[in-house]
């Protein structure tokens, strides 16, 4: 549309440019601060001309916070969460949309309710479950009297114990246990024409065959979108990994940022801290830049 609005156009450009500066400034400042030496970074105001210690600071941050293995952990957990979501949500949505077993609506609501309470809110009891993931089942056995029965019959006392603290499943599984992806798939499956299902059935395809050969290939874009969103979500987790990884070997990169700042009151070595920040924020930034299209699509489809 062609319209002559010179003043408004000028204001538009100006405001957008200011917005751009505000969006980009923290990134730029982090990069510049991580190139200074300790004295220059504490200058007020800090010089915006890059210093020469960039690689040195990156190296120091890398070794201080031991970022190599931590980035690998983050990568494993984020990929695990993304893959878990993409697979499990597809299975559940298929079950909810394409079958008519009794209790289907009830299951639908059981899953839907999980959207309401994010992990942060129920963090304390979830921690207790992960410490021994079989507690719920032990309790069921105790209450129903099955463990009493087993003890009488075989003399073995039933005590199920499987701790998931400091492990990848402990990090990944609770993050997968929500309904986000299920509804993305559900909405999509509902748009697939019935004729397709009929045709597949006429050709002799059973439920499993239809799922693998027809539905999954059609869902590729949804998978990419959901996977990207979930990868970012898991990579950026902080509270959950902070709690359950008491042992350094399973810590994630984002939680390790705390290693770079002293406790309350102290002043960090800012050049090192910013170098660490840069390392930790770079992978998700690359994902955002590379997968922009999927993020926009995924966000808008999963949240609505």
């Amino acid at each position: 549309m062609v319209e002559r609005t010179p003043i408004l156009n000028f204001v538009t450009h100006l405001v957008l440019f200011i917005g751009f500066l505000l969006a980009i400034a923290p990134f730029v400042i982090v990069v510049i601060a991580s190139s200074h030496n300790l004295k220059d970074v504490n200058d007020v105001p800090m010089s915006l001309l890059p210093g020469s210690d960039f690689w040195l600071n990156i190296k120091t941050a890398w070794t201080t916070a031991d970022l190599g293995p931590k980035l690998l952990n983050s990568f494993i957990v984020a990929t695990g969460v993304a893959a878990g979501k993409v697979i499990i949500s597809a299975l559940t949505a298929f079950s909810i949309v394409y079958f008519r077993y009794p209790g289907r609506t009830f299951i639908f609501w059981l899953i839907f309710v999980t959207l309401m309470l994010p992990l942060e809110v129920r963090i304390v009891p979830t921690y207790a479950v992960v410490a021994n993931v079989l507690t719920p089942y032990q309790a069921i056995l105790d209450v129903t009297g099955i463990s009493w029965l087993i003890e009488k019959v075989s003399g073995v006392q039933v005590s199920l114990n499987l701790g998931l603290l400091n492990s990848y499943p402990g990090l990944i599984l609770p993050l997968v246990a929500t309904a986000t992806g299920t509804f993305l798939y559900r909405q999509f499956f509902l748009t697939i024409p019935d004729e397709l299902t009929e045709a597949a059935r006429m050709d002799g395809a059973g439920a499993l065959r239809f799922f693998i050969d027809v539905l999954l290939p059609l869902s590729r874009t949804n998978m990419a979108a959901l996977g990207t969103i979930m990868f970012l979500y898991a990579w950026n987790q902080y509270l959950w990994p902070l709690l359950i990884t008491t042992d350094q070997s399973h810590a994630m990169a984002v939680t390790e940022l705390k290693q770079l700042i002293p406790n309350v009151g102290g002043i960090p070595e800012w050049n090192i801290a910013m170098a660490g920040t840069l390392i930790v924020m770079l992978p998700p930034l690359i994902v955002v830049v590379a997968m922009q299209r999927w993020i926009v699509r995924g966000l808008i489809a999963t949240e609505k």
């Binding site: 405001v15 902070l242 808008i300």
Partner: protein, 294 residues
Amino acid sequence: MEKRVTFGSWTIGILFAVPQLLLIFTFFYWPAGQAVYWSLTLQQPWGGGNVWVGLDNFRSILSNADYWNSITASLVFAAISTGLAMFVALVLAALTDRQLAGSRFYRVVLIWPYGIAAPALALAFRFILAPEAGFLSVINRMWPGIWDPGLDGADAMASIIVAFSWKYVGYNFIFFLAAFQAIPRSLIEAAAMDGSGVVRRFWDIQFPLITPTIFFLLVINITESFQDSFGIVDIMTSGGPANATNLMVYKIYSDGFKGLDFSGAAAQSIILMVLIIVLTIFQFRFIERRVHYQ
């Protein structure tokens, strides 16, 4: 909406849902039930199980000034950061949607903040806003002591609001821009033919048509401000100074895992859950209405 054509086997259907059901039972329903149980009992200091105390935990929390302070801080944080993040994103999206030269470029860059982990951007902002280094310290050179998030509660609150809003401007921008682009071009062109200017068209056509998105983002932003703020608070202020930024999730964490008061933390979790459920019901009613709308 229901499918007309379905598969007959019930067993296979249920089997497909089993992995998800196991997961949400173990990591969602059990913990949620556990939280209710803990909030109604008190753990004995030297073991020996939990003693039923009814609503005592809730009573002691709700009579605690620190807790009300935490609720107030959370609400102030939620209100200001949501308002800021949504307003800025709305302006930027509306202007980007005018599709002048360079709008493609802005569409890409303005999304970037969304991808950054809250703790990482918190550390970046802690540096930028530090009183002794970085950039805002300049004003301390001119008027010594005027800015210090480490000592002044209002300054600390302002810092975490800025950091949180920065991230959520990127998030809101994605939704606002999509909403603007969903408005049929012909509608706007017709209005332009009738002689209405850009500002008039915004208020009379675009703004009413994106109200569902505004409403939706309002709920999401408020909910997220309760959850996603943890990393920002932990890195930037640790809840201080003098509890000025001790938001609800941070308080649950510090009472439960540092103070080892599981019963108190569980009761706080329940209160927070109720708060979020109330907000979600609000959101549901809106979605319902929106579906009618179309």
